[in-house]
């Protein structure tokens, strides 16, 4: 039974393993691998007076603006977050930013502010360089309450890249 059902000859096993390996490598070749994404700069909304409340917006390019009663201070400018993506050369990938009302900054004393409207540059889709890397800059909108409690606020947010 065993000898009759066997289609392989004793002298061929090495050949079939090699074939399987080449098929596997062909399948993997167009796929990106060994991706990493790491933060090299944090998102900072800088220093401001809350006044009657409003928003502080930091663009991916680093421009800061406000709305409502918020007063921005020149001596505490904002900066966009910067994350470096590393992977396969020339690979394209999608960027998923945090949804609204999922990221909050806290002062550790029971006060918080929400960060919404994350935007990135490049937006939505990126392409790694020939060297296999790309820098993503991220901005967002901070919601500031009226007479928001003074203090330093911080929080974390995650960015997902999909290949």
């Amino acid at each position: 039974m065993a000898s009759q059902g066997c289609a392989f000859r004793p002298g061929r096993p090495v050949g079939s393993v090699a074939l399987a390996l080449s098929v596997l490598l062909a399948a993997l070749a167009p796929r990106a691998s060994a991706q990493t994404i790491g933060a090299v700069a944090n998102l900072s909304f800088g220093s401001f007076l809350s006044g009657s409340g409003g928003t502080v917006v930091v663009s991916p390019a680093g421009a800061r603006s406000q709305s409502g009663g918020v007063l921005l201070l020149g001596q505490g400018p904002g900066t966009p977050a910067q994350l470096n993506v590393v992977g396969t050369a020339n690979a394209t990938y999608s960027i998923t930013l945090p949804a609204n009302n999922t990221v909050t900054l806290s002062d550790g004393n029971g006060h918080s502010m929400t960060v919404n409207s994350f935007v990135s540059s490049p937006p939505a889709t990126g392409t790694l360089s020939a060297g296999g890397s790309q820098s993503i800059r991220i901005g967002a909108t901070l919601i500031v309450g009226a007479n928001q409690a003074p203090g330093g606020y911080s929080g974390a947010f995650s960015v997902i890249v999909n290949y």
């Binding site: 065993a2 000898s3 066997c6 392989f8 004793p10 096993p13 079939s16 393993v17 399987a20 390996l21 596997l24 399948a27 993997l28 796929r31 990106a32 691998s33 991706q35 990493t36 994404i37 790491g38 933060a39 700069a41 944090n42 998102l43 900072s44 909304f45 800088g46 220093s47 401001f48 007076l49 502080v56 201070l73 020149g74 001596q75 505490g76 977050a81 993506v85 900054l105 002062d107 502010m113 991220i138 967002a140 901070l142 500031v144 928001q148 409690a149 003074p150 203090g151 330093g152 606020y153 911080s154 929080g155 974390a156 947010f157 995650s158 960015v159 997902i160 890249v161 999909n162 290949y163």
Partner: protein, 181 residues
């Protein structure tokens, strides 16, 4: 038996490759985390704790001035027809202003650009001008960002006394403005 074991080995090898392949396909996303920060600063306030007081001055037949330096121990300089009455100069102080706000931040100080008028008996007036601050045009609140800070500064000025200025008490007000830079 020998052939069967070779078949079995090939099957294992193929399944092993599939498993590795599946593992590689699962590595299609990566997550990076960054921090976000913001600093809500305390409003800046300024209040007067000591008045600008020129004390007692004696007018003369010609106009004159009395100038006070901006310091906790102010120095008075009389000029023209004005003199101070010996040791009975009364209370002579530079104005003191107390600023409170966010630690470590700098702010601008704006003094009156024009003369302030002080009024005495029978609508007689004198003027005060040439206001000066011991900090100049800007200050820095004590402490560091994230905590309350404070600073005080002194303001001096120049009182203009007319010839034969009417005797009496003269009072008036002037304002200074502070603002975060």
């Amino acid at each position: 038996m020998n052939q069967f074991s070779r078949i079995a080995r090939r099957v294992v090898v193929v399944f092993g490759l599939v498993a590795v392949s599946g593992g590689a396909w699962a590595q299609s996303s990566a997550t990076g985390t960054a921090n976000a920060t913001a600093t809500v600063v305390r409003p800046i306030t300024v209040s007067s704790s000591v008045d600008l007081a020129f004390g007692n001055v004696v007018p003369g037949g010609t106009a004159g001035t009395l100038t006070l330096t901006a310091a906790s121990s102010t120095a008075a300089t009389a000029a023209g027809g004005v003199t101070q009455p010996g040791t009975q100069v009364g209370t002579v102080t530079a104005a003191k202003f107390d600023v409170a706000g966010e630690g470590g931040l700098t702010y601008s100080i704006t003094l009156p650009a024009s003369a302030a008028t002080i009024t005495g008996p029978a609508a007689a007036t004198m003027t005060v001008d040439t206001f000066t601050s011991d900090l100049g045009a800007s200050g820095t609140l004590s402490g560091a960002l994230g905590a309350a800070g404070s600073q005080s500064f002194y303001v001096g000025g120049k009182l203009h006394v007319g010839a034969n200025q009417a005797a009496g008490n003269y009072t008036g007000t002037f304002s200074v403005t502070v603002a975060y830079n």
